[in-house]
């Protein structure tokens, strides 16, 4: 249990980019070490091709099973991919977590030899991501595309996190102007933690749809004071004491407890959205 907790904690306080991955072909768990070696050789070859002498010449990769995230019945175990530079052996230069956390049943049900690990969380520099992505797509015949979080999901997350906050930190919501307005008007609203909790409690007692009411409450407050219709603007990012999320798929979780719930919510998004061409 403790190593599980430690593993979960290692995921917190890191800024992740979320991607969606199509089912992997011919991926088998016993061959993880082999895949790690393949990745290592690929990365060293890439660096040699790039011809940049200043970068580190050697990499060490590690692909291992990450326990505890496969909460659903048919979920395969999560995979953690780490790339270490030769100089720094302790901290990975790049980390990727492939997991499947209770995706919607209406999503693909795959059979052998396919493995479905649809959610990918990446932490690290972009160059490693692109290099890894080419290797991964080529090896397992899959497609990796960025996961976007639409505004209505962000509003939902904001409402839930407001109720779960235990840290004295404000709930920050940021809106950006709609596309016709070329000059960007950004509205950032910081709600005090106690006020957010109170609003969330009020919303629970009324009996109607809670998330909608929570959002409506905040928007009416702004309308009352500034006469700005927040409904017509795009909710870009939400950050609270629990976690923060962005429109373009950046997620940062600060506590290990709601981690699984957030991953489930992200998996829910995989069902709704279809990857666009060229992403």
């Amino acid at each position: 249990y403790f190593c599980f907790l430690k593993a979960m904690k290692s995921l917190t306080k890191k800024h992740f980019h979320a991607y969606r991955v199509s089912p992997l072909c011919m991926f088998s768990y016993p061959r993880l070490q082999h895949y790690a070696q393949m990745l290592e050789t690929f990365l060293t070859a890439e660096v040699k091709c790039a011809g940049d002498p200043t970068t580190n010449s050697g990499f060490h990769t590690n692909i291992s099973v990450f326990p505890g995230l496969a909460t659903g019945q048919r979920d395969p175990e999560a995979i953690l991919i780490q790339i270490f530079c030769k100089q720094e052996q302790k901290r990975p230069a790049w980390e990727g977590l492939l997991c499947s956390v209770e995706p919607e049943p209406s999503y693909l049900t795959v059979c052998m030899p396919f493995v479905l690990l649809p959610l990918l969380l990446v932490h690290g520099p972009k160059k490693f991501t692109t290099a890894w992505k080419t290797w991964f797509e080529r090896t397992f015949d899959c497609c990796v595309s960025p996961l976007v979080i639409p505004s209505y999901e962000l509003a939902w997350m904001a409402a839930l996190w407001a109720g779960a906050m235990s840290v004295p930190r404000t709930l920050d919501l940021q809106w950006s102007s709609p596309p016709p307005v070329s000059d960007g008007l950004h509205i950032t609203m910081s709600v005090n933690r106690n006020d957010a909790l109170r609003l969330w409690d009020c919303v629970h007692t009324s009996g109607e749809e809670e998330v909608g009411l929570f959002k409506q409450g905040l928007e009416e407050h702004i309308f009352h004071h500034f006469h700005v219709i927040l409904d017509a603007m795009i909710l870009e990012s939400v950050s609270s004491g629990v976690a923060s999320a962005n429109n373009s798929g950046h997620i940062k979780v600060l506590f290990h407890k709601p981690l699984v719930h957030i991953l489930v919510a992200s998996s829910y998004l995989l069902d709704i959205l279809i990857p666009t061409k060229g992403s």
């Binding site: 639409p150 209505y152 709609p178 017509a232 603007m233 795009i234 909710l235 429109n247």
Partner: protein
């Protein structure tokens, strides 16, 4: 009045009007330009409203609306709320092929504030077609405008042989299989003129059957010297006003059984006694 009705104003010859209902800033200007560029043989007017009900000042001079287009912006929940509120002020007659839903700004997905499934379900509930169109893209606007004009021609009755109700049966969006919103979607749309025809046909059949049964009954009644006064009343139609004007109800009575009692019955069937109002009852001996 509160509700927007399709027949509130008189129709003008060779003119059709589209009313675009939607929140401000959706790109209505580009759509209007594209609509005017479509080559048509009639006068096409485009009006824009940001909310319904329409203000009362222009009530007298308002043109009859042939097609009602609701614009929804996927990045703005406000536009969805505007459309949902406006739908309450539309009379049900409009939904027989005179309403169209147009959804804009469906890309990029990260800006969605409205769940697209909810808009699709809304259009399916109202049995109206829905298209996704990017009003900032010239080609897309042109295609949407052409499609709107085609539906406008049908709604305005400018295409012979195809009415808007028939079109609604053919091309309204289908509901997803797992979700059944209401049984309304499963019943077929009926043309408004079919119902009274069905009723009058049923009445004619009933009258004919009664005419066959009548002599037998009278024969027994003469024996028992009993009179059935309620027979003529049984032949009155349920809703005489729905019958098309000038309809003739024919009673074919066989000659053999023509007798005083029958002539008395036939006289009782005259319009003044029964209340068929406007239609003639012709009694012809065969």
């Amino acid at each position: 009045m509160d509700l927007l009705r399709p027949q509130s104003m008189s129709a003008q010859p060779n003119t059709s009007t589209i009313l675009l209902v939607g929140a401000d800033g959706l790109g209505q200007e580009r759509l209007i330009e594209a609509l005017h560029k479509v080559p048509v043989t009639f006068n096409l007017n485009v009006h824009v409203a940001h909310k319904l009900p329409l203000p009362e000042e222009g009530e007298k001079t308002r043109r009859r609306i042939t097609l009602l287009v609701f614009l929804v912006d996927l990045t703005s929940l406000h536009s969805m709320i505007v459309v949902q509120d406006a739908l309450k002020y539309v009379a049900p007659e409009f939904f027989l092929g005179k309403v169209f839903f147009l959804v804009t700004r469906d890309k990029p997905e990260k800006n969605w504030a409205v769940i697209p499934k909810s808009v699709v379900n809304l259009a399916a509930t109202y049995h109206s077609p829905l298209i996704f169109s990017d009003l900032q893209n010239g080609g897309s606007v042109r295609i949407a405008a052409e499609r709107l004009v085609r539906i406008l021609k049908i709604a305005g009755g400018l295409i012979p042989g195809l009415s808007s109700t028939q079109l609604v049966c053919l091309c309204s969006p289908a509901l997803p299989v797992t979700e059944r919103l209401m049984p309304f979607s499963e019943t077929a749309e009926e043309d408004p003129t079919v119902v009274p025809l069905v009723i009058s046909a049923a009445i004619l059949i009933f009258v004919f059957l009664l005419a066959l049964v009548l002599p037998i009954v009278l024969y027994y009644s003469r024996r028992r010297a009993c009179h059935h006064p309620e027979k003529p009343m049984a032949l009155s139609p349920t809703s005489p006003t729905e019958k098309p004007d000038g309809a003739v109800t024919r009673l074919v009575v066989p000659t053999k059984t023509l007798s005083r009692s029958i002539t008395r019955e036939c006289q009782a069937l005259q319009p003044e006694n029964v209340g068929l109002g406007g239609s003639n009852v012709v009694v012809r001996a065969v």
